[in-house]
């Protein structure tokens, strides 16, 4: 029984991998002050594109690379429209989101129901033999390891490197950053493309690993991108919290599947949809930390727990001040 739970939890970590990677990509983009609303479209298009390339070339790596390139290309389009042509980030992002989604269904017609290579888990020697941790973290696919690696890397990059500081400054006050000799447009271009490329990597992780194959609108990926956006916001643009949000979401989905068998009286749709509103409620609850009554409630907890939950004196919970606001050089 215990090993069943472990296998389930390891599955949660694996299935959260694309969400973690995409949400960290979006966090990087938004930290620079750019709002990329096309996440949902990028995931679908790169899921289809990655699968198609992998099928044609019979090469797994080519599929993942294609996903990254599709993401980067959409990011480039968004950056060009908003940073060079000064169009609205919201409008361009939304149009791209729907365009990419429909494009993936249209272009993917010929690839329905085919089989391409699938990524298998790469068990790490020694580490996988650790009790509990071994089967949870070290018997996973390369992409899951990558998602785990992304979390501390992004955290260190944003908060402890000079480049991260430049990134934050551009998102907070571009006109001041410009006066410090920072090429605001270049930084925004860069992080929009890099962030979108990470989002693009999420697509093939589904179609070449978690849910092999392309089944058009039945693939079941539509909507994940919007969850990614919500997690980015509620995670307070902090990669650690963002990852927690992703794991929470997948945990809820897994619990839904587990209890479906036990609660046969409950319609299966309810359990399938439940994670979404539950996610929203949890995230709202998490963000209630900002309110005074929540502070007074948790002040009853023992000090170490209180410090963990309390947001008093903690930073980086606020949105980048110039998120979504265009910037023009003099």
């Amino acid at each position: 029984m215990q090993s069943d739970v472990l296998v389930g939890l390891a599955g949660v970590i694996a299935s959260a991998a694309p969400i973690v990677i995409a949400a960290i990509g979006e966090t990087l983009t938004e930290k620079s002050g750019m709002l990329n609303l096309s996440v949902n479209g990028i995931i679908l298009l790169s899921a289809m594109g990655g699968f198609a390339v992998s099928y044609r070339t019979d090469n797994l790596a080519a599929g993942y690379l294609a996903g990254i390139l599709i993401g980067a290309l959409i990011g480039l389009i968004l950056a060009f429209c908003t940073l060079t042509l000064y169009q609205s980030q919201v409008a361009v992002g939304l149009v791209l989101a729907f365009l990419c989604r429909d494009l993936s269904y249209f272009l993917g017609n010929g690839f329905m129901g085919l089989t391409a290579p699938v990524m298998h888990s790469a068990t790490l020697p020694f580490l996988s033999e650790l009790p509990v941790l071994g089967s949870l973290f070290f018997d996973q696919t390369v992409m899951t390891y990558l998602s785990l690696l992304c979390i501390p890397t992004a955290l260190v990059w944003i908060n402890h490197t000079r480049y991260g500081l430049v990134l934050r400054s551009v998102g907070e006050r571009p006109e001041a950053a410009f006066a410090r000799g920072i090429d605001v447009k270049k930084v925004r271009y860069l992080y929009t493309i890099v962030g979108s490329a990470l989002v693009g990597l999420a697509g093939p992780i589904y179609t070449l690993g978690l849910k092999p194959g392309w089944k058009g609108s039945m693939t079941g990926l539509d909507g994940i991108g919007w969850i990614v956006l919500a997690i980015t916001i509620f995670g307070g643009w902090n990669s650690f919290r963002v990852a927690l949000g992703a794991y929470l979401f997948e945990l809820l989905r897994w619990l839904g599947l587990v209890y479906q068998a036990q609660w046969s009286g409950v319609p299966s749709q309810v359990l399938q949809v439940a994670p979404f509103p539950l996610m929203i409620l949890t995230l709202v609850f998490v963000n209630m930390k900002n309110s005074e009554w929540f502070e007074s409630l948790i002040s009853l907890l023992p000090p170490p727990l209180y410090r963990f939950f309390s947001l008093k004196g903690k930073r980086n919970k606020a949105a980048p001040s110039s998120l979504g606001i265009p910037f023009r050089n003099v």
């Binding site: 490197t161 000079r162 500081l165 907070e172 001041a176 410009f178 006066a179 410090r180």
Partner: protein, 488 residues
């Protein structure tokens, strides 16, 4: 470091903001740059600091011809500028804010950079807690922080653009001490202002700009009259307040207790006569703003009543206050007073009482054209509010106050304006007084308070004084009261 600029030209559309300015600044000097609003001071300084390219002209640093592409490249040559609104990052820590601008290294070098900062801090004799957020500092402290930053990056010339707008008298003294210290250390300081007294206090030499030309290079101290003559090309008359001892009382405040973010005031009893001007003195944030907003109906008091010719006004709807002719003009021009993206004409339409559903374009156009002429606003009906210069935005705000206003509540009505514009605005306000309107205004400028008001209320840390007759006060007495001395 010696800076020489030769024949600088810069135009914005039809406006020739800098028309052939040449100037030499010597090392260790505090040079004043004096001029009215729109004289071209800021433009010249932005060119010198690399924030703006010039159309023609040359800049020499220690005899070498230089070209700046950005503020960054100017700073690399030792020229740094402190903008009117500090260009820093409120959401970053003081450390990060200082670190931004370093060109080398991958990881943030906490310890070595901290030592560098501390070395400069020791020279200047002040210290920041580097882990705090910039946003928690006052404007005065943020200026100090910017000066510190410029010095850390090796600035030899520091340009300050109107640094005394928005800081308290005490902070101003600190700033001046700091600037004198910089000069002792051999740094060059350029101090831009429109206030004569400040230049006289701080500088040994000042240049005067008027309409984009350099019209004077004066050794200081010297008499105000000749400087005013140079700044405006003519002498400026000052107006005295009306004698209101015989006019009737129209507004009365009884036992009013206001609340601010940090305190409750003592109860205030006050009556205001027709045509009277009441000044509210005190350091910024001592309750003047809350007092004005309470009287305007924008905030509820804790206790007390407000009577207009015997009728009590009820808090809850601002509309019932404006219907009575009580109007508030905020200090934050762009944030609270004007609406970004709307034209001058649309502002006038908004300020008119709403009578019909459809906008009468012709009539509103007529109104707006006459007002623009009457209040000499540099701009047209169709220019957006944010395109106007600060002084013209202020004129627009004054022009928007409806004719039927009986009580004007003005927060820093002349903030950032030069003497001539200030006088011009007070002339307009006096006209209102002659028609029977009363004025309450807050100002950080003691001279303005003493000159233009009949009586003065002093605010200090939530305490509100009895009204003083301004003829019984002078700047020493008022300054002491503002600083919290001499209270009973």
């Amino acid at each position: 470091m010696e800076i020489e600029i030769r024949n600088i030209h810069k135009s914005f559309g039809a406006v020739h903001a800098n028309a052939g300015i040449s100037l030499t600044v010597h090392a260790g000097e505090i040079l004043g740059v004096l001029g009215e609003n729109g004289a071209g001071k800021t433009t010249l300084m932005k060119i010198l600091a690399g924030l703006q390219p010039c159309d023609a002209g040359e800049i020499y640093v220690d005899g070498k011809l230089v070209h700046f592409q950005s503020a960054d490249s100017a700073l690399a040559l030792g020229i740094g500028m402190l903008s009117q609104d500090p260009l820093d990052f409120p959401m970053l820590t003081i450390f990060d804010n200082l670190y931004l601008g370093r060109k080398k290294g991958f990881f943030i070098q906490k310890n070595s950079f901290r030592k560098e900062v501390e070395k400069v801090e020791d020279l200047l004799a002040f210290h920041f807690k580097l882990s705090e957020l910039v946003g928690t500092l006052s404007i005065g402290e943020r200026q100090q922080l910017e000066i510190l930053r410029l010095l850390v990056y090796g600035s030899e010339l520091i340009i300050l653009d109107e640094p005394t707008t928005g800081i308290s008298t005490q902070q101003k003294k600190q700033l001046f001490d700091l600037l004198k210290r910089l000069a002792e250390l051999g740094k060059t300081v350029i101090f831009v202002t429109h206030k004569l007294a400040e230049v006289n206090e701080l500088c040994r030499r000042t240049i005067v700009l008027r309409q984009g030309k350099l019209v004077g290079d004066v050794a200081l101290p010297c008499g105000s009259a000749s400087l005013i003559q140079a700044m405006f090309g003519k002498a400026v008359d000052l107006q005295d307040p009306l004698d209101v001892s015989r006019s009737e009382e129209q507004f009365e405040v009884r036992h009013l207790v206001i609340k601010d973010a940090h305190f409750f005031s003592n109860p205030v009893n006050l009556s205001v006569r027709k045509g009277e001007i009441l000044g509210l003195a005190g350091m910024e944030g001592s309750g003047q703003k809350a007092f004005l907003r309470t009287l305007a109906g924008l905030e509820k008091p804790l206790d007390g009543a407000f009577f207009d010719e015997g009728d009590a006004l009820r808090w809850g709807s601002t509309h019932s206050f404006t219907k009575r002719g009580v109007y508030f003009m905020p200090a934050a021009r762009m944030e609270e007073g004007l609406i970004q993206g709307m034209t001058v004409q649309e502002h006038f339409i908004l300020s008119q009482p709403a009578e019909e559903i459809m906008i009468d374009r012709e009539r509103s156009c007529r109104i707006s054209e006459t007002r623009i002429k009457e209040f000499s606003i540099h701009g047209s009906s169709s220019s957006n509010a944010e395109e106007l210069s600060g002084g013209n935005q202020q004129r627009l705000l004054i022009a928007m106050l409806p004719e039927r206003a009986r009580l004007l509540l003005l927060e820093n009505p002349t903030r950032g304006l030069d003497i001539e514009s200030t006088n011009w605005i007070w002339e307009k306000l006096h006209e209102r007084c002659k028609k029977g309107a009363s004025i309450l205004f807050a100002s950080p400028d003691m001279e303005e308070l003493l000159r233009f008001s009949n009586r003065i209320l002093v605010f200090f840390a939530g305490k509100i004084s009895e009204p003083f007759f301004s003829r019984d006060l002078n700047s020493e007495k008022l300054g002491a009261l503002i600083g919290g001395e001499g209270w009973r």
